[in-house]
């Protein structure tokens, strides 16, 4: 009997990390992705909002997309006559591994860091003040696509809802901050884009 192998393209099977960046959320001057001409790994814009990398993660970045549905049934048919969306959960989750105030600010939902630079006879000092309310951020992701170019995702508005249990051990584990970013933007406002070919001469 002849063997059967479905058609496939090995080069489309991908692994690899993505870079995650956060920017302040602004309704009037929202954060934007880099220009299309910026190559993979290039500099992200500092205007109108500054993008900041979230830093190291323990096990990379995970996307969670869950569409809740309601099946509309009739007595005469065993399968639904329609399936309507009731809710969509779109989350980006990771465990941050850089033990800094910048990480804590993100993990704990928001805040501000005031740094006084060291001067003659005066120590340098950082003070983190957490927010009572959740800060809203924009979240940008960048990875390599199947064509070897950039793939970028922009979620215009997210909040960080964390359930952090930060463990401090002598040598058994890292100090880690598990974070979960929940998209607040309408799902149609999330931008997915990728480069497919280099510009022609």
């Amino acid at each position: 009997m002849p063997s059967f192998t479905p058609t496939y393209d090995r080069k489309r099977v991908m692994a690899g990390m993505v870079a995650t960046r956060l920017a302040p959320y602004s309704e009037l001057t929202p954060a934007v992705l880099p220009a299309d001409s910026v190559a993979l790994g290039g500099v992200w814009p500092s205007s109108p909002q500054v993008w900041t990398p979230v830093g190291a993660t323990q096990e990379g970045v995970s996307f969670l997309f869950r569409r809740g549905t309601n099946s509309l049934m009739i007595e005469e048919q065993l399968t639904p006559v329609a399936v309507e969306t009731t809710e969509v959960e779109f989350k980006v989750e990771m465990t941050l591994a850089e033990d800094t105030f910048e990480t804590m600010r993100v993990a704990y939902g928001g805040g501000a860091i005031v740094t006084q630079a060291a001067a003659s006879g005066v120590i340098g000092k950082k003070t983190l003040t957490l927010s009572d309310d959740l800060d809203h951020f924009a979240l940008g992701l960048e990875g390599k696509n199947t064509y070897g170019f950039w793939r970028r995702i922009l979620i215009p508005e997210i909040v960080s809802i964390a359930d952090v249990e930060q463990v401090n051990r002598r040598s058994q584990s890292l100090r880690l901050y598990k974070v979960s970013f929940w998209a607040l933007s309408a799902i149609s406002q999330v931008v997915f884009s990728e480069q497919t070919a280099a510009a022609l001469p």
């Binding site: 500054v50 900041t52 860091i113």
Partner: protein, 65 residues
């Protein structure tokens, strides 16, 4: 666009960086190149990431539409 020789330094989010008599915020502070370099060095020494953007040129007489 003509360079103004000035740059704007910004902090990320709503952070504040105080050095000498200066206070750098997320709104951005316009500085000359020499001052900006010393502020950036102080930021590095204090583990603060500042962002630099070129200052917008000021309108001069006869320019514009």
């Amino acid at each position: 666009m003509a360079s103004t020789g000035k740059v704007v330094l910004k902090t990320a989010f709503s952070d504040v960086f105080r050095v000498g008599g200066l206070e750098i915020t997320s709104e951005g502070v316009e500085l000359d190149r020499k001052t900006a370099d010393s502020v950036l060095e102080a930021a590095r020494n204090n583990h603060v990431q500042l962002h630099e953007v070129e200052a917008a040129p000021t309108k001069t007489e006869g320019s514009g539409s």
